[in-house]
């Protein structure tokens, strides 16, 4: 028995070819969750073609923004009004305008922290190795090539039939990626 297959990797020279290929693969009935696309820059429409419109990153960022801002503002109020009130030049202890800039900063900080966290979690990172790294062609995914991966866990996946199908999409190459 040969080594288990992670999936089939098709290589394209242009973003439009990748986009068209993704649409054809989806039409063929492969699950969006088992089809992956790699490109050196964001390709307009690719997220739609992959049904990746809905993701949790904005939700976590909003949560971080509201939580971080509210907590910081509360903390300022608590420390200046309740815990340790000091008279600063006769100003009220609850100096609400002066409390806003730190709260805004913490709003941004926590939105970014939770956003980065959500991206890492959603992308299953950090991870030291990935089967795709075995493929030499894939090295160009960060410079000038566009890749489409159909993973072997798709119920329609068949090493021969899927390879034949991918070749009809006129890729530069189709290679098998080992697990």
């Amino acid at each position: 028995m040969s080594a288990r297959v992670h999936g089939l990797l098709a290589e394209f020279a242009e973003a439009e070819h990748l986009l068209a290929a993704v649409r054809r693969v989806r039409e063929e009935g492969y699950f969006a969750s088992c089809v992956e696309a790699y490109s050196p820059y964001p390709v307009e429409g690719l997220d739609e073609a992959l049904d990746a419109r809905h993701h949790w990153v904005p939700f976590w960022m909003l949560l971080g923004a509201i939580g971080g801002g509210t907590f910081t503002y509360w903390l300022e109020w608590y420390s200046a009004v309740v815990n340790y009130p000091i008279n600063v030049g006769g100003r009220p202890t609850f100096s609400w305008p002066a409390f806003i800039p730190p709260a805004v900063e913490m709003t941004i900080l926590w939105a970014v922290l939770l956003g980065v966290g959500a991206v890492l979690f959603g992308a299953r990172l950090p991870r030291v190795h990935h089967p795709l790294f075995e493929s030499h062609e894939f090295e160009r995914a960060t410079s000038d090539r566009f890749f489409l991966l159909v993973r072997s866990d798709d119920p329609r996946f068949d090493p021969q039939a899927t390879q034949r199908f991918l070749k009809t999409l006129s890729p530069l190459s189709v290679v098998e990626v080992a697990e």
Binding site: E44, P58, L62, G89, R91, S95, P97, A98, I100, P101
Partner: protein, 377 residues
């Protein structure tokens, strides 16, 4: 064909209403309550001038940056910018009746304040008139030079880049002259930038409202472009809010007599509800809605937000001009309605004509570009 001449019934109607409202405001108002009538007039003039200058600045920004967002809002921006000569005429009553409006222009009753005495070389009636004329000469000159070379990308950029610097300097000086000098012993280094950003915000909101309304075949704006316009509005809302808040914060925290003079009538009386209105409708609500990707790509939502921002920008102009001279608290005069309706109706009348002209040249140039693409295709 002259785009200035009214052609539709609605335009003639607007022209009539404009003339009627303006003469009521200036003739009747000036004979009864001259200072308050002129104050209303100044606020309306300030708002509509801001729309025109903001439009010119947005056009110049787009000439430098490019992008689909600017192509689709070019007709309304161009139409608004071309009304600058009208605003140059509209400033005349302010200049003629300056002594009613600006305390410093009548030195006999003024000038007890040490700092104000040192300002007299700048706050001088003749110098004030010269400066105001200069602003309009510079703006109209740039408008003519820019619109003539708009078709040529390189030359348009060469005019637009220094034009934006000039916009920054002149909007600072003009806003200080027209608005801040109503409270001559007050100063704020943020004011000009805040007003300039507010003008850009108003112009962008007006153009976006128009772009989100068009539904005919060649003019329908794609969701991606609406998204860009929504992001631009969000950016202007944030920039304006940031500057307005920082100005308030620095004044509030220092709490010095020279610095808080402007805010005392505005925040310690019932005028503060106008501030809350601005916070709600020029910051909080548009900010919250424009965070949503779906709202930015939805024609109806974006148009609603844009219209709201136009109204809020008008309220912002009112906030900048009026409360300082009605220190008793929130108070409206009938001229407060008359003046913006009057200037607004005339402005609208000219704008619709210019928009029609700008749209037809835009459509024909877009069609020519399309044919070119096809023949090369």
């Amino acid at each position: 064909m002259n785009a200035w001449l009214p052609r539709t019934l609605a335009q003639w109607f607007a022209l009539l209403i404009g003339i009627a409202a303006l003469s009521a405001c200036l003739l009747l108002g000036l004979s009864r309550e001259p200072k308050q009538a002129l104050l209303s007039y100044l606020f309306a003039f300030f708002f509509f001038t801001g729309l025109s200058i903001g439009s010119l600045a947005l056009l110049m920004i787009h000439a430098i940056t490019g992008g689909a967002w600017g192509d689709c809002i070019r007709p309304p921006l161009l139409a608004a910018a071309r009304l600058l000569p009208l605003m140059a005429l509209a400033v005349i009553p302010v200049l003629v009746c300056m002594h009613l409006l600006y305390d410093w222009s009548a030195p006999a009753t003024f000038g007890h304040h040490m700092q104000v005495r040192q300002q007299t070389w700048y706050l001088d009636p003749t110098f004030f008139v010269i400066r105001t004329i200069m602003y309009f000469v510079v703006w109209i000159g740039w408008l003519v030079a820019f619109t003539r070379n708009m078709g040529d990308g390189v030359r348009a950029r060469r005019i637009a880049a220094p034009g934006l610097i000039v916009f920054g300097v002149t909007s600072l000086l003009a806003s200080v002259d027209w608005a801040v000098s109503l409270t001559p012993h007050w100063h704020s280094s943020i004011f000009g930038m805040m007003v300039g950003t507010g003008w850009l915000l108003g112009a962008c909101a007006l153009a976006t409202a128009i772009a989100a309304t068009w539904r005919d075949r060649e003019m329908t704006v794609a969701p991606d472009v609406l998204h860009d316009l929504g992001n631009l509005l969000l950016m202007f809302v944030l920039a304006w809010s940031y500057l307005a808040f920082v100005q308030y914060l620095t004044v509030w925290i220092a709490d010095l007599p020279d610095e808080n003079a402007w805010y005392i009538p505005r925040t310690l009386t019932s005028w503060r509800y106008l501030a809350w209105f601005l916070i709600a409708f020029n910051f909080a609500l548009p900010f919250a809605v424009l965070l949503s990707r779906a709202a930015k790509r939805h024609r109806g939502w974006l148009r609603a937000i844009a219209v709201m921002l136009i109204v809020a920008s008008c309220a912002d102009a009112f906030w900048l001009i009026v409360p300082g001279s009605r220190t008793g608290g929130f108070a409206l005069r009938w001229t407060d309605l008359c003046a913006p309706v009057g200037i607004g109706a005339l402005w609208w009348c000219g704008w619709v004509g210019q928009l029609r002209a700008a749209r037809s040249t835009w459509a024909s140039s877009a069609a020519a570009a399309g044919e070119l693409e096809q023949s090369h295709g």
